[in-house]
Point group: C2
């Protein structure tokens, strides 16, 4: 029976608004088995927690593992997470979740030490532990999809703040006169630089009479326009779509300038669905950083797509178990 | 002769655009002697460096101390500072300073290990080491005067980033359509929430015909309006002045929301000349934080005036010597 921490196994779970992904992994981040199910978020916390446990069961099926072979279970969840208490305080993608003790529910079910953290925060840790080829001290990870989330590695360790909710970089005001954000703040970065913002702007321009193949790609159904459709149109050469993505890159750059001036990081990694748009999005963003940030930190930072792709959440959860189990005292 | 580190002496210097302040202090932050002179920044680096050395000489006069009695000399300077190389890269208040090797010049003159850092960054360290009554892990210090500077304590240590220039929080864009900043960026926090912004807005409103006693306080000379005059008018009950400071507090609050959402700190300390305006400025700022930041970090943070007043720079320089001398290898 392996007793060495390096030989123990870790179960990582990524709880999103639409799907639950789980992976059995080694402490070196090698994935041995996977499980997946849909979240059915509308059914409420109890059903979702059962679904998480069932997904874990399926991931471990046929492996005949004992609890003692595990270092722990890590769960990455979207929203405001109290890591110390193991609770989901609230989550935009999980309706009805308020102060839900998710960690303890899973820990009791499996009898394995369990840890809960914010998905973007843990993704930063995952990229840092398992994605990078060489160690760096200061890394900002951002995920751009329907919203913008972030995670911070500062001075060689995960930065989580006073109550574990640091890194809400999508909710910094970049336009004091801008649109109201779902979070209650005004002109947040994610209101201008997320996939949601891109789709909203496309719809607006189409309603104003802009010519574009976007509308054909959704068969005239304007309600079906999302970031993916705009991306597809751009890749097919649609001028409006290319312009909209370039404009999104501009707003992405504005927030990156802020992060470069504030954090002076070695590296900024950009993950999430929207980041898959590649250079059409990233080049205008990087251009703004070079033009507007202080030259010393602008010259010191590398900005590039995240390294772990869709596995950043589950591998982040795995890394979080490694990080937290050092101090396990429950 | 005291050989114990705790018994050694430290010389702290605060190099500003108008004055040089120096203090001889114990490792516990007790100030034993002070020196002061004007910077004469227009005379260029060589003259200023001589002036720094003369100020140190005067501070130490009649003390008959040997270099071996010192743990080090710390220098806090405004601008972009390369701490590792000991150079002032550039400084808005020191014309003609480009890559000036200030640290080595002082170190060679006195034969005492010398350390150079950004003034706001070091002030954060000073407040954290010598101002606080109890230890906390995460502190943001901001200084609001002609501009806005900042320093970050993250996870129980000074955060300086990849090349020591982290903390330029005054240069985060909060108004993407806002005025151009001296730094080259657009709509920086300091273009809207600094003393300079306050004076500019007062002048604008007076030119547009606003009734106010501000103009009487400067004997009709509009070019003499600065933040202090507006503050004085407000304290005498002038309605426009009170409104302008309240508006400044609003913009101060916008940036604080960003810092609260990003850093989830236990404490934000506000120093600098403008912060001396007190509640008239801070109450509207804190109100915005309570209204707009996520409730978990908003409830966790205390926002209050800095604790060391005008000594934050020199005591920050003293604290920096303590922090850096642990790893002294030159």
């Amino acid at each position: 029976m392996p007793e060495n921490k390096e030989q123990k196994l870790i179960l990582g779970v990524d709880l999103g608004g639409t799907k639950i992904a789980a992976a059995l992994a080694t402490a070196q981040g090698k994935i041995l088995a996977r499980g997946r199910s849909s979240t059915r978020a509308q059914a409420g916390p109890d059903v979702v927690i059962k679904s998480i446990c069932a997904t874990i069961d399926r991931t471990l099926a046929a492996k005949r593992l004992k609890p003692s072979q595990f270092l722990g279970i890590g769960i990455a969840a979207a929203g405001i997470i109290d890591s110390d208490k193991g609770k989901v305080i609230s989550s935009p993608n999980l309706p009805g979740w308020h102060e839900v003790p998710l960690r303890d529910a899973v820990e009791q079910r499996f009898g394995i030490p369990t840890y809960l953290g914010n998905d973007a925060t843990l993704a930063a840790l995952g990229e840092w532990c398992f994605g990078l080829k060489k160690g760096i001290a200061n890394l900002i990870y951002i995920t751009v999809s329907t919203g913008i989330g972030g995670g911070i590695i500062a001075g060689g360790k995960l930065y989580t703040g006073a109550c574990g909710v640091a890194g809400e970089i999508g909710h910094m005001t970049i336009d004091v006169n801008g649109p109201k954000c779902n979070c209650g703040n005004i002109g947040c970065w994610e209101t201008l630089a997320s996939g949601t913002a891109l789709a909203r702007e496309a719809v607006k321009q189409i309603r104003e009479g802009a010519k574009t193949s976007i509308i054909e790609l959704v068969n005239g159904d304007i309600s079906k326009i999302d970031a993916k459709v705009v991306d597809l149109a751009a890749k097919q050469g649609d001028e409006l779509a290319k312009e909209l993505i370039s404009r999104l890159g501009y707003y992405l750059g504005i927030g990156l300038v802020n992060l470069v001036n504030i954090f002076n990081p070695e590296l900024i990694l950009i993950g999430g669905g929207v980041a898959k748009m590649g250079d059409l999005l990233l080049q205008p963003a990087i251009k703004i950083v070079k033009e507007r940030a202080f030259s010393t930190p602008a010259n010191a930072v590398e900005i590039k797509p995240a390294l772990l792709g869709d596995d950043s959440g589950i591998l982040g959860a795995v890394a979080f178990v490694l990080e937290r189990s050092k101090n396990y005292r429950r």
